[in-house]
């Protein structure tokens, strides 16, 4: 892990970087002088605060803005699962362990991102109404927590996880080349995908059918039109400029089906595409 390569890359685009960091760059050098005894997990925290102090930006397209956007989504997910675990009778015993795992992960992501952002982290209380979300998304969904409607809860969980994957994916180019921050974001991204797959597996069991698959087929394969917008563009057939339905599967001799093509690639969403999906819940 070479944190100085990041600093050097930044210096190429920002000649005044040293001035911005000074004397913090020396502090970082001191940090690494602890050598391998410094836990790798601690480095993102140190670097995150370094970048924040240096730039202090709040718009998407920079490290702080990107991570705060991620933090807002993690606040939403953490509160969602915490509420579920605090709603007796909602989650069947068979699925309790899974949601305890998922909730623990989302809360840990919050802690991790807050640690990276330090003083620049947006406060949870800035979200919703003093930190309390509207789980009906402006009365577009039934109040599943009140009615203990597990099926609707699962649909929303399905939407949150698949959308979370899309959000992290869409933000990756904003932190391209940043070994510490991008790698951490990718490491969260794949955890959200694991969650999404498992929630889809739960839904298959509940439905007693083969759907929804653990991977996304076409645009919206969840069976709930209320979350169509969360899956807009997942039916993309073109990757790297190639319409993949024109490629032949060498094994079968047939063209790849649109189902396989859309399942094999998850699609990103931008900040501006994600925001309308989560603002009804109170994300700001």
């Amino acid at each position: 892990m070479n944190i100085f390569s990041i600093i050097e890359e930044l210096e190429k685009v920002d000649p005044e970087l040293n001035d911005r960091f000074s004397p913090r760059r020396d502090a970082i050098k001191s940090l690494t002088s602890y050598g391998s005894k410094v836990a790798l997990a601690a480095l993102p925290f140190a670097l995150g605060s370094l970048f924040n102090k240096a730039y202090g930006q709040t718009t998407v397209g920079d490290v702080t803005g990107t991570l705060n956007f991620a933090l807002k989504l993690e606040y939403l997910e953490a509160a969602f699962y915490n509420t579920a675990l605090n709603t007796p009778g909602l989650i069947p015993a068979a699925d309790l362990a899974a949601f305890q795992t998922i909730a623990a992960h989302e809360n840990a992501h919050v802690t991790f991102l807050k640690g990276v952002l330090g003083a620049n982290a947006v406060a949870q209380t800035s979200q919703g109404t003093a930190g309390v979300y509207d789980w009906t998304a402006g009365n577009t969904l039934p109040n599943y927590f009140v009615t203990k409607d597990y099926n609707t809860f699962l649909v929303v969980a399905n939407a949150f996880e698949d959308t979370g994957v899309r959000a992290y994916k869409g933000q990756a180019p904003n932190i391209i080349g940043n070994q510490i921050v991008l790698t951490a974001a990718l490491n969260i991204h794949s955890v959200e995908a694991r969650h999404a797959a498992h929630i889809r597996t739960i839904r298959r069991k509940i439905n007693g059918t083969a759907l929804p698959k653990s991977w996304i087929t076409g645009a919206n394969d969840t069976g709930s039109t209320a979350i169509n917008a969360n899956f807009a563009g997942e039916d993309n057939l073109i990757q790297a400029g190639i319409d993949l339905t024109t490629l032949t599967n060498p094994l079968t001799g047939a063209k790849f089906s649109s189902s396989i093509v859309t399942e094999a690639f998850d699609e990103p969403l931008t900040y501006n595409q994600i925001l309308p999906l989560v603002t009804p819940f109170g994300v700001k």
């Binding site: 795992t101 992960h105 093509v261």
Partner: protein, 233 residues
């Protein structure tokens, strides 16, 4: 040494192709037995001076990372092709359907990298699954879990090396599907292990990431071809 000489024979025979294509041919025809030895004898007097290593290096920069991903996708595609061709004892129809879908996802990933890399693509790799008992559920699902978790950690660990945002996004589109596969297979083996503490850190809830130099030794057991990523960090 015999391998190197075989390689040279093919270079002699197809001198207009680039080195990578010859090695590809070499891999395809390696193990051809008596025929190869005959060619070797006929051509041994015209041996090249330049020493062509049998190890395939993925290259450097973005192309190196994409070839590294291409290598892993080749491996996964070959594995699931075998899984579906010789299903393990007791496989359910739903499981066979899922493994067939996963197979096709991985073949498509492989074919996309091959098409996108064009002449920069490394050759087809020769796989070795002798350590896997394809008739046995635990052996197959265990190997599948290892392939998927390793694949996720490989994409996660190499993402920062990409300088082209289009390539980074493409890698991101694939890695989350690999993570879905991983979760699905983990739940097959042990329900609710989709993101357990063997892959997701208990404190930070971050998935694993591995450097190419950490991934390649893990997958080497499944390859006859030797791969290196010496030009990647």
């Amino acid at each position: 040494m015999e391998d190197l000489q075989n390689d040279d024979v093919l270079i002699e025979d197809k001198s207009t192709l680039d080195v990578r294509m010859q090695r590809r041919s070499f891999l395809r025809y390696a193990g051809a037995g008596a025929a190869g030895i005959g060619l070797l004898a006929a051509a041994s007097c015209k041996k090249h001076n330049d020493d062509v290593s049998a190890t395939i290096d993925v290259g450097s920069g973005d192309i190196g990372v994409l070839n590294y991903a291409y290598a892993l996708e080749q491996l996964e595609a070959a594995f699931y092709t075998q899984v579906v061709a010789t299903p393990f004892t007791g496989i359910t129809s739903a499981e066979l359907t899922a493994f067939t879908e996963i197979r096709d996802h991985e073949i498509l990933h492989r074919e996309l990298f091959k098409a996108a890399l064009g002449t920069s693509a490394i050759p087809a790799l020769s796989v070795n699954f002798s350590s896997i008992n394809f008739a046995d559920r635990a052996s197959v699902t265990g190997a599948a879990k290892a392939f998927e978790d390793t694949g996720v950690s490989a994409y996660n660990g190499a993402g920062y090396l990409l300088t082209n945002p289009t390539y980074l996004t493409l890698a991101g589109k694939i890695v989350s599907v690999e993570a879905r596969h991983a979760a699905f297979i983990r739940d097959l083996i042990s329900y609710n292990s989709f993101a357990d503490s063997t892959v997701v850190n208990n404190t930070t809830a971050l998935d694993l990431s591995r450097k190419p130099s950490e991934v390649l030794p893990i997958v080497a057991v499944y390859l006859n071809t030797s791969i290196s990523a010496n030009q990647l960090p």
